[in-house]
C-alpha cells in the first residue's frame, strides 16, 4: 500500500465507519432525559431516597421479601448515575462537588459500589432471611449512599422533616 | 484510488473510528448496565412488573398514598425504554416483536404513555388523593402497560403465579 493512498483511505474509511456507527447507535442514544441534566439527576436521587425510605419502613414492619423491589429499583437506577454527570454540568442548582470530575475514577467506583450494595440488599431480601436483610440494611445508608455522598455531595443546608415515603415532589 | 486500497483504508479507518467511538462512550455511558440490551430490558421490565404488583397490593391494603415511590420508578424506567431497543437487538431470547422497529414512532409513543401515566399516578399519590389513585390503578394495567404489550410483545407461553417480588 502506498502511504498516500492509505491516508486517503483511512480518512474515507473513518468517515464511513463513523457515519455507520452514529446511525447504528442513533436509536439507542436517542434522548432519554430532559435537557436539564441537573434536574434529571436530582429526580433520580429523590427516587433513590424514597426507595430506601420505603425499604426501611417495610423492614420495620417485618415485611422482608418486599424490600427486594426497592433494592432492584435502586440497582437499576444506579446504572444511570454516571451518565448524568457529564463535564460542565456543575450549575448553581447542583449539589455536586467539583471533586466528582477531579476524581472521576473514584466517583465511578462509588457508583459501582452503590449498585453492588443494592444488589446485596435485594438478594438478602429475596432469600427472605430477616436477619441477613437487616444486617445489610444496617450498613446500607453509610456503605451504599454515604461512600459517595460524603466526598462528592454538598449536604443540604436544612434537614428535611422525616416524611412518609413521600419525598417525591409533583412535577 | 484502487479498490483494494479503499477497502484496506475502510478497514483501517473503521478500527480508528471504533477506537474513537469506544473511548468516547466508555467514560460516560454505563447506561445499558450489562451491555446486553435484551438482558437489561428484561430486567427493567421485571422491575416494572414488581413495582406494579406492589402498587396493586398497596391500594388493596387501603394504602393508596404509598404508591408514589413505585409510580416514580415506573416513570423513570419508562424513559429508558426506547434506548434499550436499539436496532438489531431482536435476538432469540427477546420477546420483542419486529413491529417495534417497523413502527418506531408508535413504540416511542407507547413508552412515553407509560411515563406520563406513571407520572400522573405518582402526583396523585403525592397529593394524597386516594380516590384518584384508586381510579387510576383500576385501568392502569391495560392503559399504561397493555397499550404497548398488545402490539409489541410476544406474550409468555405459560402464566406465572404470584411473585417473588423484585
Amino acid at each position: 500500500m502506498k502511504l498516500r493512498y492509505v491516508k486517503t483511505e483511512v480518512v474515507l474509511g473513518t468517515l464511513v465507519a463513523l457515519a455507520l456507527a452514529s446511525s447504528a447507535t442513533g436509536q439507542s442514544m436517542a434522548k432519554i432525559w430532559t435537557s436539564d441534566v441537573v434536574a434529571d439527576r436530582q429526580r433520580l436521587m429523590k427516587l433513590n431516597g424514597a426507595s430506601w425510605a420505603d425499604a426501611q419502613a417495610k423492614l420495620k414492619a417485618g415485611n422482608v421479601e418486599a424490600v427486594a423491589v426497592n433494592a432492584e429499583t435502586m440497582t437499576l437506577i444506579a446504572t444511570q448515575i454516571v451518565a448524568l454527570f457529564p463535564q460542565d454540568s456543575l450549575t448553581d442548582k447542583s449539589k455536586a462537588k467539583p471533586e466528582i470530575w477531579q476524581k472521576w475514577p473514584e466517583f465511578e467506583s462509588a457508583v459501582k459500589n452503590y449498585a453492588m450494595q443494592a444488589e446485596k440488599l435485594r438478594d438478602a431480601a429475596r432469600s427472605k432471611d430477616q436477619a441477613a436483610t437487616e444486617a445489610v440494611a444496617k450498613e446500607f445508608g453509610r456503605q451504599a449512599c454515604g461512600t459517595c455522598h460524603t466526598p462528592f455531595r454538598v449536604p443540604p443546608p436544612q434537614q428535611q422533616p422525616p416524611s412518609p415515603p413521600q419525598q417525591l415532589q409533583p412535577r | 484510488m484502487e479498490l483494494r486500497c479503499v477497502r484496506t483504508g475502510v478497514i483501517l479507518g473503521s478500527l480508528v473510528a471504533l477506537a474513537v467511538v469506544g473511548c468516547a462512550t466508555g467514560q460516560t455511558t454505563t447506561i445499558t448496565g450489562s451491555g446486553d440490551p435484551v438482558a437489561d430490558r428484561q430486567r427493567l421490565m421485571k422491575n416494572n412488573g414488581a413495582n406494579w404488583a406492589e402498587i396493586q397490593a398497596k391500594v388493596k391494603a387501603g394504602n393508596a398514598e404509598a404508591v408514589a415511590v413505585n409510580a416514580e420508578a415506573l416513570s423513570l424506567h419508562a424513559q429508558r425504554i426506547p434506548s434499550l431497543f436499539p436496532a438489531g437487538s431482536l435476538t432469540e431470547k427477546s420477546k420483542a416483536k419486529p413491529d417495534i422497529w417497523q413502527k418506531w414512532p408508535e413504540f416511542q409513543a407507547a413508552a412515553k404513555n407509560l411515563e406520563n401515566r406513571a407520572g400522573t399516578l405518582r402526583d396523585q399519590a403525592v397529593a394524597k388523593d386516594a380516590a384518584a389513585v384508586t381510579a387510576t390503578v383500576a385501568t392502569f394495567g391495560r392503559e399504561a402497560c397493555g397499550t404497548c404489550h398488545t402490539p409489541f410483545r410476544v406474550p409468555p407461553p405459560q402464566q406465572q403465579p404470584a411473585p417473588p417480588r423484585s
Binding site: - | 412488573g49 407461553p157 405459560q158
Partner: protein
C-alpha cells in the same frame, strides 16, 4: 276508481298505521335488548377478528392465513352494499352459527361457527340487534384466496362432518352456576379456538381442551390454561377473574398480544364481563381436566 277499489284503498289507508306499527314493533329492539347484545358482543371479545386494530369497528379486512390459503374477515357493519345491512336476522344468525352466508356461500371456519353454534337464541338475537346499531362502514370484502383444490365443494364439508367438534345450543341460556361458566368458555368466549391444541387435520383436539397451542394464531405460543400444576394455570379463581377484567397478572405482568386484544375488546371486551361471570369462567376452568402440555421452553 271503482267503488270496490276505493274501499280497498280506504281500508289500506285506515289499516296502514296498525300494519306499520306492528312491523315496526317487531323490528325495533328495546334498549334492554341492545344492552344485552352489547354485553354478549363484549363476551366474545368484541368480535375483534372483524376489526383491524385502529380501523373502524366491524369493517372487516383482517387477514388470516391457513393451510387452505388466505381469507379476510367480512364487513359486519350495517352497510347495505358491503356489510350485512340487507340481511335478515335469521340470515345473520345462520352465518354466525352455521357458517353459511345469505348467498349460500360457506364460511371458512376461521370464524368458529361450530363453536358459536353453542350460543343460545336468547343471546344471538340481541347480539344481532346490537350489531345493527353500529355505524355502517363502506368497505367491500376482500375475496378469499383458496389454494386447496375443491376446498369448498368437497374438502370443507367433509372436514366439518368428520373432524370439527360442534357445540350444541342450550335450550335456555344458563345464567348462573357451573353451566354459566361452561357456556361462556365453550361457546361465547370461544377460548378453545386459541387455547386448545390442534390435531393434524387442524381441528381442535377437544380431548385436550384448553391445553395450549404452541402454534396459535399469528404464530403465538398460547398458554395451557387447564389446572395442571406443572404446565397449566396455577392462579386462584380471584386472580383469573381479575385478569379477565383488567389484564393484570398476579406477578405484576399485564396481558398483551391477542389476549390483550380480547380483554380490551373493541366497543366491549372481556373486561366488561360482570364479576359474577368472570368468576363463573374461573370456576369452570378449575373443573376441566388437567392436561400436561408444556408450551414454550
Amino acid at each position: 276508481m271503482g267503488s270496490q277499489a276505493r274501499c280497498l284503498v280506504l281500508a289500506l289507508l285506515l289499516l296502514s298505521p296498525a300494519l306499520l306499527s306492528k312491523s315496526a314493533a317487531a323490528q325495533t329492539p328495546s334498549a334492554a335488548e341492545i344492552a344485552r347484545g352489547k354485553y354478549i358482543f363484549g363476551a366474545t371479545g368484541g368480535c375483534g377478528c372483524h376489526t383491524v386494530p385502529k380501523e373502524p369497528v366491524n369493517a372487516g379486512g383482517r387477514k388470516y392465513d391457513g393451510p387452505f390459503g388466505t381469507v379476510y374477515s367480512s364487513n359486519i357493519t350495517p352497510d347495505r352494499e358491503t356489510g350485512i345491512g340487507s340481511w335478515t336476522d335469521e340470515q345473520i344468525i345462520t352465518a354466525i352459527r352455521l357458517g353459511r352466508r345469505s348467498n349460500g356461500e360457506r364460511l371458512v371456519p376461521v370464524h368458529p361457527y361450530t363453536v358459536f353454534n353453542g350460543m343460545g337464541a336468547e343471546d344471538l338475537k340481541p347480539l344481532v340487534a346490537f350489531l345493527r346499531t353500529l355505524p355502517a362502514v363502506k368497505r367491500a370484502n376482500q375475496p378469499k384466496k383458496i389454494t386447496v383444490p375443491m376446498f369448498e365443494s368437497v374438502f370443507l364439508p367433509a372436514w366439518l362432518a368428520a373432524f370439527a367438534p360442534r357445540e350444541t345450543p342450550p335450550t335456555a341460556v344458563p345464567t348462573s352456576g357451573p353451566a354459566r361458566g361452561e357456556y361462556l368458555v365453550r361457546a361465547v368466549g370461544h377460548c378453545g379456538e386459541c387455547h386448545t391444541p390442534r390435531t393434524m387435520t387442524m381441528a381442535t383436539d377437544n380431548s385436550r381442551f384448553l391445553a395450549g397451542n404452541p402454534k396459535g394464531p399469528e404464530d403465538s405460543e398460547v398458554p395451557n390454561i387447564t389446572p395442571d400444576k406443572a404446565t397449566g394455570l396455577a392462579w386462584s379463581e380471584e386472580e383469573i377473574a381479575d385478569y379477565l377484567g383488567t389484564g393484570n397478572k398476579p406477578d405484576g405482568d399485564v396481558a398483551g398480544g391477542l389476549m390483550g386484544e380480547m380483554i380490551e375488546g373493541t366497543l366491549a371486551g372481556y373486561k366488561d364481563l360482570t364479576k359474577a361471570d368472570r368468576l363463573a369462567i374461573a370456576r369452570y376452568l378449575k373443573t376441566i381436566p388437567a392436561v400436561k402440555n408444556k408450551i414454550g421452553k
